[in-house]
Amino acid sequence: MRLTPTQMAWRAAQDITDGAYVNLGIGLPEMVAKFQPPGRKAIFHTENGILGFGEAPEAGLEDWDLINAGKKAVTIKPGTAFFHHADSFAMVRGGHLDVAILGAYEVAETGDLANWSTGPKGVPAVGGAMDLVHGAKRVAVITDHVTKDGQPKLLRRCTLPLTGVGCVTRVYSSLAVIDIEGGQFVLREKLPGLSLDALQAVTGAALHVQGAVADLIVPEL
């Protein structure tokens, strides 16, 4: 039993407050936008220079001057703002975003993140990943708890090339919600049927418990 990617995105969305400025990484994190709780409206930022953009247009109505960082067509809505790339990354590095939510290959208990390179093969590409991990007030990661081969993705130290050092503050995994505090993984929520021992067995660094651990309960989606 583990959460689907959609369910992880739902869980991450519950922590975004009304009016928060949020950057969602390309891919899985983009799904978070669909699950904002009723009554809350975050303002989404995309690196290529839009704040407060709307959903994808209908097929055939794309305007290719109006795209997000994943180069997918988006729309404008009342309150949208356009700006150039230096202003866009001033919003990122300058500490103006409330939350950035990213994917991960590996996360270390130190808060180090590896999410841009799986090694020296092929063509390297970094995009905005290394910028996004700096400056947002919260940097959260959505990730399966283990790799496709069942190996832990939450580790004492990352083995892959780093995206940033000591940058991640919370992990939404397929099994648990874990904060990173003082160089430790602190368990906040876990799936109700999962024992602490079983969770620890698939985690590559010590899980610390401070106070109650809540049940991670997510609707069927």
Binding site: D65, I67, K71, F89, G122, V123, A125, G128, A129, D131
Partner: protein
């Protein structure tokens, strides 16, 4: 003063072998496709310019625009943040064959290096890339308890950009997210040429709406209905067209 240039060929005529050329756009949005194709036309006709260093966020998509510039062999080095796309085959093959050099730069650092180049700031410190492979060999300083990496300005001989409206003095507006790197590149090049959908008389652009002031622009060329990379790629276009 009139910065109007008659056609794309004239706009790119001054670009010589080995020059550093900034090309605006993020993917297809804001990419000056007609200026790039004019540069390719000159290369096909004369063998020049070649050995260019190109600065762009990406590395082209499909077989048009920047990808075509790489495919015909005009680019010796690319400085970019994300050399992947829906169809990155041209850059990928050139890179893996050792035919093109790549300097990979985080996207925000790329933007700020260009801005710094235009603003006369030779170096600056950023938290981005600290502790990563992309910071190797770069000076690090601690400010208020955090570590920052020194990055240097980027400047160019030419910038080729796409804007929406331009007046004869070079004042420019942009369309939506097609702004992206274009205003920064206008500042950072010795010569900036902008292709615009319409050239208007001075005064027709509200001064409050000017995004790039004309001081940063040396030439404006009108391309009334500019091609869009995404549309060309969906149609399977190649540049220059393959003889059938």
């Amino acid at each position: 003063m009139d910065k109007t240039v008659t056609d794309p060929a004239a706009a790119v005529a001054g670009i010589a072998d080995g020059m550093v050329v900034m090309i605006g756009g993020f993917g297809g949005s804001g990419a000056p496709i007609e200026l790039i194709h004019a540069l390719i036309d000159r290369f096909i006709a004369t063998g020049h310019p070649k050995g260019l260093t190109v600065i762009n966020n990406n590395a082209g998509n499909g077989h048009v625009g920047l990808a075509a510039l790489i495919e015909v062999g005009m680019v010796a080095k690319l400085i970019c943040s994300f050399p992947r796309s829906a169809d990155p085959v041209v850059f990928t093959e050139a890179y893996l064959a050792g035919k093109i050099e790549l300097e990979l730069v985080p996207q925000g650092t790329l933007a700020e290096r260009i801005r710094a180049g235009g603003a006369g700031i030779p170096a600056f410190y950023t938290p981005t890339s600290f502790g990563t492979d992309l910071a190797r060999g770069k000076p690090v300083e601690v400010f208020e308890g955090r570590s920052y990496v020194q990055e240097r300005w980027l400047k160019a001989d030419y910038a080729l950009v796409k804007a929406h409206l331009g007046d004869r003095l070079g004042n420019l507006t942009y369309r939506m997210a097609a702004r992206n790197f274009n205003p920064l590149m206008c500042m950072a090049a010795a010569v900036t040429v902008a292709q615009v959908s319409r050239i208007v008389a001075p005064g027709e652009i509200d001064p409050e709406a000017v995004i790039t002031p004309g001081i940063f622009v040396q030439g404006v060329v009108q391309i009334a209905n500019p091609a869009q990379e995404e549309t060309l790629n969906r149609a399977g276009a190649r540049y220059p067209e393959v003889a059938k």
